[in-house]
Amino acid sequence: MRAVTWQGVNEIGVEDVPDPAILNGHDIIVEVGLSATCGSDLHLLGGYIPAMRAGDVLGHEFMGTVVETGPAVTKHQMGDRVVVVSFTSCGQCWYCRQGLFSLCDNGNPNPGITEALWGQSIGGCYGYSHAMGGWAGSHAQYIRVPYADQGAFAIPENVSDQRALFASDAAPTGWTGAHQAGVQPGDVVAVWGAGGVGQMAARAAMLMGAERVVVIDRFDNRLEQVRTHIGADTIDYEHSDVPAELREMSGGRGPDVCIEAVGMEAHSPGPQHVYDQVKQQMRLQTDRPTAVREAIYSCRKGGTVFTLGVFGGVVDKFPLGAVMNKALTLRGAQQHGHRYIPEILDHMSRDEVRTEHLATHVMSIEDGAKGYRMFKEKEDGCVRAVFVPGA
């Protein structure tokens, strides 16, 4: 089959790879219908997450059709149209039973790598390095889905492929941030990053009853999407003092909840960006935490800061004093999509969550390198490049 593969730092290829096979009783094979690029892929592409091997198949956000089922699968059958959560989680361990699916004890076959890096292992993720399990990704004609009764979800008839696609990762990641941050009716919520995940975090916060939601970015087309499709307010950080604007928008208090949906390659217009870039390139820090710092300074006393963007290692100049003295709650997580996807699909079927606008560039899988280039460089207003393996 054809697949988009990582071939080295900033090198993407399209090549023939073997078809996947059923290896465990709980597996299904899915013929991929649509597979999206994700901002977190750019960390792999840029070499910031080092456990990638040339030839690894990329992609973790996808939907498609079930074409084969293992003998222990009870929920799915051939021909089902499904969306699959990007994390591999067993559904049976203590963490999964608490709804903390991305912390699964059993979903990462290579636990030694993340135990070495972080002290404990978390679940696995498709197409996201050997540290996260070495699972083949979804930018391919077919993909093997382990623990399919847990991770694959039937798509309601009235939800289009392009809408359901983002119930795989962007939307449940956004839901994870808003819910785990404890958004309450009446809250003012600020979201850093107007990509797919940031937009979905904002939408989730609105549906959870937030009084006002504000999304911060610098790209006009993304901020316009937020206003048009999400219904939230926006701040362009290149033309505004973000903490000052947020104070004004919240009666001088600062936001109750600050959700950072940017991650380890954050940008800022100030000198701290140069500082962070130099330290990252010299490997003196692995991640650039610009947006996290701003979220911590902006958050109201006693509020919550949630790191939803992907970070891999260590950061510098972290304002721990503000965290402690302002009595902030600092939380983070990969997505626990298994618990949120049914609710998200319901919202999608009622037209309360719309995501088609995120797929700004839909193309053949043969255009894998072009798609990643457009996505990375944000060419032509690219918010997400989406591949159609069957085209």
Partner: protein, 160 residues
């Protein structure tokens, strides 16, 4: 890759991780990477204590026979059952360098892997497999050799 090259690659990976973790922890040994003094390795399994009988252990642990001793205790807070195992006749101290533990090249690597597989068998009913996973052409590079070796040993590696 020959066994000698693989072993050297694993050692290189272990040394690298050890160096990184040491620099973060500010000590000569990576934080949390040492074996407990008692020698017990433990996992918590989400099951009733009665489901783990030391006399009828899951196959991965049963295969180690008299080489290990096992203890089972209820976990607090309804977290399941704590399953402990350690090697008989182990050295009183040590248990391999931090680098060798983190890369699965220490004496307890086989036991570590067995505990993880036993937990999966009880909780899920099968041991998760990832290989063979579809992939494209693998170019031969030093960093690729280190990663392949570390990945191969990762199921038996770590701080467990």
């Amino acid at each position: 890759m020959s066994p000698g090259v693989a072993a050297r690659a694993a050692r290189a990976g272990g040394a690298l991780v050890g160096q990184v973790r040491s620099s973060l922890g500010g000590s000569s040994s990576p934080a949390g990477a040492s074996r407990p003094a008692s020698g017990w390795l433990a996992v918590t399994v989400l099951c009733e204590p009665g489901a783990l009988d030391p006399a009828a252990l899951p196959a991965p642990l049963a295969e180690l026979g008299d080489r290990i001793e096992v203890d089972v205790r209820p976990a607090p807070g309804d977290k399941g059952t704590e399953l402990y195992a350690r090697l008989r006749g182990r050295k009183a101290r040590g248990g391999g360098s931090a680098g060798s533990r983190l890369t699965g090249n220490d004496a307890e690597a086989e036991l570590r892997s067995a505990l993880r597989r036993a937990k999966q068998l009880v909780e899920v009913g099968e041991v998760l497999a990832v290989d063979p996973a579809p992939h494209g052409k693998r170019s031969a590079t030093p960093s690729g050799a280190v990663l392949e070796s570390w990945t191969k040993d990762a199921p038996a590696a770590g701080v467990l």
